[in-house]
């Protein structure tokens, strides 16, 4: 046993996994808003709880993987033992022409080799199912959760961050699961085996080995603390580099037009240099840990051998035990380098988990009703539904009243235009109506039913809100229109497009309705995008529509097409339009002028124009702008 035990020495060329840096997006915003620092408050311990809750459903594969590895390591560790048997017993027996022991060893060796290979394969399969299951679950959670969160949240959190939560942050967890679990299990299993063997050989040796874990533990703790700080610094440094890089490339036209190249080079050199310094520091920190750990381990080995020799001398330790023990002690410390890798992966995953946990800790502000109610059936002859704001008041949770208490009734089938300066409360009014927010006090009623008593599905059958900054999803034009009613037939889709006046341009696209809007030739102008979004509404056919007009203007032919389409959409339903155009206001049945959260003027467009209020002034300006 003693002679053939050879070390799998410590030349592991595995690189340390980098803590996630790459895609961490720049953080907009400013001041001491938690959104600005890209750190949403998560309750203490939330990252760990999140990890546990993700691992819990996968505990079977993980436990099975651990078990497979246990067997595999047993098979691996038996190798040297078999070699020793072959030499100690097989040789003398073979000399006596007794090949029994040799055959026995040969068979055992073959079985062990095949067995451990197959176990290794199964281990990888099982573990991958477990760890990929965790990632599948996590991605779905982030997706579902971000879809459930309020628009207000989306406005503040920015799309870039949500995307990096579900990509790069998930990725850094993946590194931990892929590399980490495997390495951790391997290390644990071999440490347990070897420690047990040491205790079996000699209690003193076992105790000495266990005692040597103390300085290593201290070292690991100090590394975790110091590396944590370094990683945080480095990720800040790379984030500033990324921001500068991205900003330059996204704004390459102004960069060139205003000859910023050289000034940018200088700024970038500074940021890049800062990152270089911190980056080098992080690598050195890692080096420091590896060296100290290895030094500790090597000194411990030396001391154990010396102590063992001393004990052999006074006869309290068997010679063979010392020989085997010292070889096993050396093996015990082999995984130190790999342990450093896990620590790195863990550091980086912990930072990501914290960000994800912060996101998941955000509660959607709106809840589904406990006892949902259905909207009353609508009499066929009456277009649209009646809307009542009953004693409604709205303020943000953080304080700051946006809409003081008011009452408002919108008659069924009427089109109401809302006008006013930015911040006058127009869009808050619209969002209350679409139930993107709930009022702080009072109720919003649709045909007498409180919006809060409707399920989301029922609500959206009744009320649809569209913004004209029309976003198209990848896929065909038809699919984009069908978003209004996913079960619509092609005929219905085309009918909607025709009614809106979008059919001609769609038919002229390379593949007509099947043209992919992201492919070459599928480019659709801003005006045409608005038409597509109107066709969606027409297909959805809600009894109430809320329209937020685009602020930026189209060219005049485009504008006219959009105006015509809008009239089609507004017809035969209750409509609220946040208006930026005179032409829109003129087709409305009623105009509300808002200022500082209050409705300051209310009446038919013609009456208000004839008056001397704000609307009349605004109207004059509009007139002038048309020349």
């Amino acid at each position: 046993m003693t002679t053939a035990v050879t070390d799998r020495d410590a030349r592991h060329p595995e690189p340390e996994p980098e803590p996630e840096e790459g895609a961490a997006p720049p953080s907009p915003g400013s001041a001491d808003d938690p959104f600005a620092q890209d750190r949403l408050p998560a309750p203490p311990g939330a990252p760990r709880r999140l990890l546990l809750s993700l691992l819990r459903p996968q505990r079977r594969p993980v436990l099975l993987a651990a078990f497979l590895l246990l067997l595999q390591q047993a098979a691996v560790q038996s190798g040297p033992l078999l070699i020793a048997i072959a030499i100690d017993r097989g040789v003398p027996a073979a000399m006596a022409e007794d090949y029994g022991p040799l055959i026995g060893v040969a068979v055992a060796y073959g079985v062990a080799a095949l067995g451990s290979g197959l176990l290794l394969y199964s281990f990888f399969r099982v573990l991958a199912r477990g760890s990929q299951g965790v990632l599948l679950d996590l991605r779905a959670r982030i997706y579902r959760h971000s879809q459930a969160l309020s628009l207000d949240f989306h406005d503040r959190y920015t799309s870039g961050r949500l995307i990096s939560r579900s990509t790069s942050d998930v990725y850094s967890l993946r590194e931990l699961l892929d590399e980490g679990i495997q390495t951790l299990l391997t290390v644990l299993v071999s440490v347990v085996y070897i420690t047990a063997l040491l205790f079996y050989l000699d209690v003193g040796l076992g105790l000495a080995a266990v005692a040597s874990f103390v300085p290593l533990f201290v070292l690991v703790r100090s590394y975790r603390r110091r590396a944590g700080l370094m990683f945080a610094k480095r990720s800040t440094a790379i984030a500033t580099v990324i921001v500068k890089f991205n900003e330059t490339l996204n704004g390459i036209r102004p960069v060139k037009a205003f000859r910023r190249e050289r000034a940018n080079d200088a700024t970038f050199a500074e940021l890049n240099g800062q990152h270089q310094w911190v980056n080098g520091g992080t690598i050195l920190e890692m080096a420091r840990f590896v060296v100290l750990a290895r030094l500790t381990a090597n000194i411990v080995i030396g001391l154990i051998v010396l102590w063992g020799a001393y004990r052999v001398a006074d006869g309290s330790l068997a010679l063979g035990a010392l020989a085997a023990g010292s070889l096993y002690v050396r093996r015990l410390y082999d995984p130190i380098d790999r342990f450093a890798m896990i620590l790195n992966a863990y550091q980086s995953a912990a930072a990501s988990l914290e960000k994800i946990a912060g996101l998941l800790a955000q509660r959607p502000e709106l809840s589904e009703p406990e006892r949902p109610v259905e909207l009353p059936a609508r009499p066929a002859e009456r277009p649209g539904r009646e809307v009542v704001f009953d004693d409604v008041r709205f303020e943000y949770r953080t304080g700051g009243e946006v809409l003081p208490r008011f009452d408002l009734t919108l008659a069924a089938g009427q089109t109401t235009a809302v006008v006013g300066a930015t911040g006058a409360g127009k869009s808050t009014l619209a969002k209350l109506l679409a139930r993107f927010y709930d009022p702080t006090e009072g109720r919003v009623l649709l045909d007498g039913t409180d919006l809060r008593d409707l399920t989301n599905a029922e609500l959206r059958r009744g009320v649809v809100m569209v913004t004209q900054e029309a976003f198209l999803f990848s896929g065909s034009v038809a699919e984009n229109i069908a978003l209004g009613r996913p079960d619509a037939t092609r005929e219905e889709i085309e009918a909607a497009a025709k009614a809106i006046g979008a059919h001609d341009f769609i038919a002229a696209l390379p593949d007509g309705y099947d043209t992919d809007v992201r492919k070459r030739g599928g480019r659709i102008s801003a005006g045409q995008r608005q038409l597509v979004s109107f066709a969606r509404v027409l297909l959805a056919n809600p009894s109430m529509v809320i329209l937020d007009e685009a602020t930026s203007s189209l060219d005049i032919p485009g504008e006219r097409a959009v105006q015509n389409a809008m009239q089609t959409v507004l017809a035969d339903r209750t409509a609220v339009v946040i208006a930026h155009r005179l032409s829109t206001v003129e087709v409305a049945d009623r105009v509300l002028v808002m200022d500082a959260g209050r409705i300051v003027e209310d009446g038919r467009p013609a009456d208000l124009i004839a008056g001397a209020g704000r609307f009349s002034e605004l109207h004059q300006a509009w007139r002038d702008s048309l020349v």
């Binding site: 290794l120 990929q132 779905a140 690598i283 978003l483 060219d555």
Partner: protein
Amino acid sequence: MSASATTPHSPARKRSVVRSLLRLWPYVRPVRVRFFSAAGVAVVASCMSLVFPLILKWIVDGPITERDFAGVWLGGLLLLGVGIVEALLFGLRRWLVARPLAGVEAAMRADLYRHSQRLPVAFHDRWASGQLLSRATGDLQQLRMFLAFPLTFLVVNGSTILVGCVIMLSLNWQLALLLISPILPLVWVCTVFERQFSVASRRAQDQMGDLTTVVEESVLGIRIIKGFGRHRSQAQAFRALSQRLFDTEVRKARLLGWILAVIFILPELVLGAVLVIGVLQVASGAITVGTLVAFTAIALALRWPVESIGFILAMCNEASTATDRFFEVMDTEVPPEPAAGAVAAITARARPDEAADGLRFAGVTFRFPDAAPESASVLERVDLHVRSGETMALVGGTGSGKTTLTALVPRLHEATGGTITLDGRDVAAMPRPEVRRLVSVAFEEPTLFSATVRENILMGVDEEDPAGPAGDAEFERALRIAQATGFVHALPNGPDTEVGEQGMSLSGGQRQRLALARAVVGRPRFLVLDDPLSALDVHTEARVEAALREVLVGTTALVVAHRPSTVMLADRVALLSGGRIAAVGTHAELLRDSAEYRHLMTGADLPPAPDEAREEVPAR
């Protein structure tokens, strides 16, 4: 053991990997001393790790067996010493390369940034910024890691294997050959595996990209999704894609498990065979027990280096991909500037009467470099003269080429044919910075950078040019023209408030006004404005127009206009239609004469045959 020697099956491919990696040399050269010292130290440290078990064996077989306790003490101390030296060497190696390699990474990144900035706009139109960013971050990190670990260990492990083989061959060549025999099949298996694995990981990457797109759209389109209450196909696509990614990843893991199993089993089985044959040979007296022991010991010691070769080669492959991706950008040529002599000549040739010639397009043609050969040009023989001090409005339908035409003036795109002259000087013969100093631009999409409002606005003003009318007065004048004085001074830190991606977010109208201020600051000689007022509300628009009118009096300006109110800023109007100038005249003239212009400006219906109508106008 060099990379080229290990892959007899695809020499060309491997050679190109080596060639790719050799391109890194210029970046490594400055740190070559430390780099090679570190590799040397790694080899020594490796040998130390080999010495370690030898000493242990010596203690066990020698002093302990012979009960020579002084020897045990000596051995123990030796062990301690070697252990300390080994650890220190490990440290030395890492210390030697840590800062230099961070420097290599930074130098490559700086070069990439510098080069990207100077590549033409057409390049950036083709390349998503994310593609460049991933090269500047992920790929460069990977290359640094490659230089720090796999490259070094390729040398270290290769030489270990070589030395081990030589020792074994000298001990007993038959057993040695048997033991070495699995190396070739292993390398072959590794190559096959690596090909399959790279297909699978490529697929996983693509699927990840698709998944990211769905996530991105679900976030960007959240207003629509919420507005309609759902987006079923989006959620379905997400589920389907993440499931598919799951399957691919599991398949990747199976491939990996399979190859690891083979790498493990094959040498083990051969070792078992060697053991059996060895025992028989010992029994028959052909070799000694000591030889057999030494053999198995060395074989076990070589197991890790052999196993690692596959991974190291895979990493070399990845690194060469990263290198290729890096040089893909660096190899794209920056279009050359005209030689200094030509510039002087062209400047000299400008006759005095041309000094105030204004902006002139003569037979200008443009097509995108990547456009299909049979497709029509974006601009076709455009002739247009904006007189000195005159303001020309540019009107045209969607896709008529207005934005492209304006981009040719500051040479953001290069005209494919014809000439553009500024006061008689051909822009193509002037250095680009010079052209851009003369021409100031406001783009349709107002981009602000992460800097203060002041820095954003003054960025077009030459700091080096002392004659430039910079300074506070000019800054305030620009704000006043853009009607931005009020809101800028109301910002938390006034003009020193940080804006852009990392600062305060401003509304579209506010950003547009700042972009306008940036264009007019420093009283540029030529001004190009691409629909500069589109996002403004009617009140602000009217005020900006009034102020802008003053500025335009002394400036040669080309203004893209969508609305009559913007056209009113101009002295004359040019109608761009299908890439040609269809008509030039005053607003009133064009309203009277051009059906297309009437359609664009008033929404009047086009006559039934718009093509003929278009032909009519220039014929007049």
